[in-house]
Amino acid sequence: MSQNSTMLAYGDAIRQGFCYLFDNDPSVFAIGQGLWSPWYVGNTMLDLDKLYGKARVIDTPVSEAACTGAAIGASLFGKRAVAIHPRMDFMILAADQMVNQAAKWSYMLGGQASPAVTIRGIVNRGGEQGAQHSQALHSWYAHIPGLRVVMPATPTDARDLLISSVLCDDPVLYIDDRWLYDVAEQDRDVDLQPLETVTPKLRRNGGDITLVAASYSVQLCLEAAGLLEKEGIECGVIDLRVLNPMDSQLITSEVSRSGRLLAVDGGWSTCGLAGEVIATAAERVLPRQWKAAPVRVTLPDSPAPTSGSLERLYYPTVESVCVAARNMM
């Protein structure tokens, strides 16, 4: 079914992805906190319990560890289980199950069993919610071999990569950001891609400087690139899409061409994604190809504040991306 004439918003796209999965694969089920609530996970799962039944859309006690473990366990027996955490901050309570168990299960048992689980972690920040309700910990999980980490930046990717994640036989962490839910783009048919084949995408072509980001930060970069173009600065924008395992080819080729790399990330700097992008490029692009030292735009080295007056300073913005890019020219 083609829907070329309609626009698709990111939040609705996630819900479409779930509908696709529920419609096409009887082994899919979702388990997590707030799945029967009209507001817990935004509009991304609205009424799915009513459409597909409460046995396939399971709302749970406040028990992150056990619920995630249960999803992993079910995924070992033919179920495509999706464990949903309305905030990445809460998902930390399931870290053992994700990192010690799911990520290592296949390896430590000699590849004889693989948890085909998808864990969905939502970045939910801003709104004066503060330090424990704001974290974007994608860099943590990207550090862990065995856990595929997916972080879509666009509506169609949000839908299609959710489907790819759930249909992947490996454990996958799928991360979406509530700040993206209203971002819309032209809809198109579902593009079914095996997750292993999904690589970074050049969202915008430009030879003066290469901006690299994932998820919401890609949108910042695209906006900044639009502004910078007017100043005569041509930005290439790379959307990483899959953080682990990370494919370095596009970064290498683009940065070799532009000689300038600005890595933008809504997480922290130290041992974070932006640093990884820079290290990846530094290892592969020859010293003489660089025109400027690479730069990161990330969160400051602090937890998230609550007061709106400080929140405004805390998160990367289109403006902070522009300033950093200009300084590199």
């Binding site: 817990y40 406040v62 709104g127 919610q129 602090s302 609550t306 007061s307 007056s309 300073l313």
Partner: protein, 350 residues
């Protein structure tokens, strides 16, 4: 067919326990003080509700309107050297321990004069000098911290105790069970206070647990437990006092389960926000007839301990104080920009 066990029985039935509370031999001053405290909490939260509705307050506010007797009853037997912790629904505990109204309001409004200097908002409150050592919104997070606070108190041997307030939802986090075992096996003076309001956001306890009496977990860990009407400030205070006394004197943990109900939605000012899964408006109306404040007022008036005009005077006085504090908070300054990173390493910086 409901296969759940419901040992709470009448305690969870809003049609019961609606009569005026039994004030027994409690001194009138004490009762009036408790009434005052409950009214302060009620009026303060109503102010927050207005600000939330108007968009003046943006930080998420989890209101405890309807649950005031819990914090007030427990705080009655606590002292400033005790170590009290709360969670996301923590205004009442902060205020009952003596936290300032103006600081609460300023914090919710994100001002630098707030209880947490504007760094925390509604869900992160601090009033250390009163014994209230912090609320944070990760559910169940402060339970083990309170156990450690109790352990430190035990080491110091002055009879102080740790206290944590949490909800029936928090009881589903494994760390409660680890904490109960640690406190029991190490004999740590700590009071676990579960405000069982029968809901964890949109979900009824029956949808989440096979039994509606949370204190059964304490039984399993051999922690002495009491389950009482949390909308009765006298009963709550008496039960709390017994467990607190045992903690102070014998270095034993205690578990107090207070059955109560919130009048507003899980978060924000509206009454009808969680309706739809199980919570109904008629349930809510019934629970409002079991209101902890009016039940005390009626008891005071019926026994002649306070006249209607005394109560009205008290309410007016409190409304005025709330209004004044709100005024002050509204004009307080926002944090300076350099506060953004000032408190990351609080120990070594200050």
């Amino acid at each position: 067919m409901d296969r759940r066990t419901t040992p709470l029985g009448d305690l969870a039935n809003p049609e019961k326990f609606t009569s005026p509370i039994d004030i027994g031999e409690i001194a009138t001053d004490t009762l009036l003080d408790w009434l005052r405290q409950m009214l302060v909490i009620r009026k303060a939260e109503e102010q927050l509700a207005r600000w939330a509705s108007d968009g003046v307050a943006r930080t998420p506010c989890h209101l405890g309107i309807g649950q005031e007797a819990c914090a007030v009853g427990v705080a009655a037997a606590l002292r400033a050297s005790d170590r009290v912790f709360g969670g996301h629904r923590g205004h009442s505990q902060y205020l009952a321990m003596g936290g300032g109204l103006t600081e609460l309001f300023a914090e919710v409004l994100g001002r630098s004069t707030g209880a947490s200097r504007g760094m925390g908002g509604s869900m992160h409150l601090y009033a250390g000098s009163t014994g209230f050592h912090g609320s944070v919104p990760i559910v169940a997070a402060t339970i083990s911290i309170a156990v450690g606070a109790g352990l430190a108190a035990k080491m110091d041997g002055r009879g102080d105790i740790g206290v944590c307030f949490f909800g029936d939802g928090a009881a589903e986090e494994g760390v409660l069970h680890e904490s109960l075992n640690l406190a029991a096996s190490q004999e740590i003076p700590v009071l676990f206070v579960c405000e069982n309001n029968l809901y964890s956001s949109h979900l009824d306890i029956k949808a989440r647990q096979p039994n509606d009496r949370v204190a059964r977990y304490a039984d399993a860990h051999e922690v002495q437990a009491l389950t009482v009407d949390g909308n009765d400030v006298v009963t709550t205070a008496e039960a709390a006092s017994a467990l607190i006394g045992n903690a102070r004197t014998n270095s034993k943990p205690g578990f107090l389960e207070l059955i109560t109900y919130r009048h507003r939605g899980h978060v924000g000012p509206n009454e009808d926000i969680d309706v739809g899964v199980r919570r109904t408006m008629s349930d809510l109306e019934a629970w409002k007839r079991r209101d902890p404040i009016s039940r005390l007022v009626v008891a005071l008036e019926a026994t002649g301990k306070a006249s209607e005009s005394t109560v009205i005077g008290l309410i007016e006085e409190i409304e005025e104080a709330v209004g004044a504090a709100a005024e002050v908070a509204l004009t307080a300054p926002y944090p300076e920009d350099d506060q953004l990173t000032a408190f990351v390493y609080g120990g070594s910086a200050s």
